[in-house]
Subunit: 306 residues, 2 copies
């Protein structure tokens, strides 16, 4: 079973989680109502050496990426990050390299503080001798944005007639010649809030693109129970990417969102390109076309394990 399918199976096996859960597992973050009434969002993401980053990547790259990946999930909900926790499991060869671990922790802390997010807890463990690749996780906590009435943007809000947009460019994120985007991307936290403030309820659904644009659009379609038609040729590409790589590479950490009839989306916001790339229709699944011709959609989502 691939990671996504396993997560889906876990999710399907969930019983009712109780009245405090407002957004159950299945979106970019979950949301609960605290006893006093405050709504709190939380999510956790991981990086594994040799999977999400080269095994010999510097500690600063690991620290920054694990936090920024989780902040990208906060962006996808258009909410405000308020705290983070970070864990690491150290393999044998790093157990005695204190400088490595301290540099990792510092980079994680600074990536969080760049968004005014305090890294206020965490844990360090070690593998038994010889047993593991470095792994790390970042938990992020967030609250709804009071400036837009406390609304959060979910994956399931797209309706037939909505238009599909993306921020930024796609493909070749892992290609160093293409810029090594996956190492130095800026999570779209501020852009998402700006979009939400501009569009209000017309920002109907949103997701961040970590696993490949086609795959993420599939999640939007499935959660919203709609069909999404994607103009593959309209997707802005990063230097060196062809249409297939733009749709399947992943690690873009851009926003993909749907906009209802009343919403006007500028072609650029805060210096970030915003591009219309498709339409929402009745039905299910993703229909891809290029230059007006239908293109067969493979399951192009990029699963890290493969």
């Amino acid at each position: 079973m691939r990671e996504f399918e396993l997560i889906e199976a876990i999710r399907r096996s969930n019983p009712d989680l109780g009245p405090s859960v407002i957004v159950p597992p299945g979106d970019d973050l979950g949301m609960v109502r605290l006893p006093e009434g405050t709504e709190l969002l939380a999510g956790v993401d991981q990086v594994v050496a040799g999977v999400h980053l080269a095994a010999d990547a510097p500690p600063e790259a690991y620290g920054r990426k694990v936090v920024n990946r989780s902040l990208s999930d906060v962006a996808a909900m258009a909410c405000i990050p308020v705290g983070a926790l970070v864990t690491a499991v150290l393999p044998t060869e790093l157990m005695s390299d204190d400088e490595w671990s301290l540099a990792f922790a510092k980079a994680a802390r600074e990536a969080a503080l760049a968004f005014d997010v305090p890294l206020f807890g965490g844990d360090v463990a070690t593998f038994p001798m010889g047993a593991g690749a470095f792994t790390a996780s970042a938990t992020v906590l967030a609250v709804p944005d009071g400036e837009v009435g406390g609304r959060v943007v979910l994956r399931n809000g797209a309706s037939p007639g909505d238009r599909l947009y993306v921020s930024g460019r796609f493909g070749c994120s892992l290609d160093v010649d293409g810029g090594g985007h996956h190492l130095d991307f800026v999570p779209r936290v501020e852009l998402a809030r700006r979009l939400h403030a501009e569009l209000g309820d017309a920002l109907t659904a949103m997701i961040d693109v970590s696993d490949g644009l086609a795959s993420e659009i599939g999640h939007l379609a499935a959660e919203s129970e709609v069909s999404i038609s994607l103009d593959a040729g309209a997707v802005p590409r990063r230097h060196g990417a062809d249409a297939i790589r733009a749709l399947s590479d992943g690690e873009d950490y851009e926003l993909c969102f749907t906009v209802g009839p009343g919403g006007v989306v500028p072609s650029e916001l805060d210096g970030v390109l915003l591009t219309r790339v498709g339409e929402v229709d009745v039905g299910g699944g993703v229909v891809m076309h290029e230059d007006g011709r239908p293109v067969a959609l493979d399951r192009t989502g990029w699963e890290h394990a493969e």
Copy 2:
């Protein structure tokens, strides 16, 4: 550097984390004030196959233990758990064993729901081929207990003149002949709240015992800037444990707490033994004695990596 020393070094390198952080890293959980004013506690703990559990332990044992370890940290602060997130990194041999992963997830969810805690998010990743032992983490979210005025019990509140107590029995938790306590302990969440309700402000400091009682008492002494005198012979022992094992084995998941002059501690609460095992004095460090004779205190804290 051992795990604890690394965590201390990370903590020392922390700059000011900002005004929203009420309890910074260094206690069982951290605490932040959310924008609307609500106080939220959070912490994360990990288990690694071959370190915290036998490499061939069943998935149910992993799921239960990773959640219960984190709930034990909630108990240590005498607060109320409100949500949990769980992650796992699967090694090669488990990637195709869906039943294992689903059983792990189910056990984690049920351990949380046993305390009315919804497991409302998580993540699954996989190691590159051949690279790792199974690891998992549980993040817990909690709120202060309104029934005691929203006070939380920290590690730094002990004063000279306080008495030192423990719940339950110690040692041989990992010994299957001794009951395999580390696999089926009940986190002391309810006991801690009961104690707090009974004692109020007289419950001056508390910690949970995961890394060995002597080591944890050392943390209480260091954080409270006091000396703690421990009567090693008074510590109740689990079947088969001698005094050294009771103080150094770890994995007990009991409470260790200090009580101010006004507090009256019963010998048992909700069927759990409560035992006076020492005194708080001016000075620093832990002074251990047995049958009235001083005993040299080695650094007996049990570090998982060693």
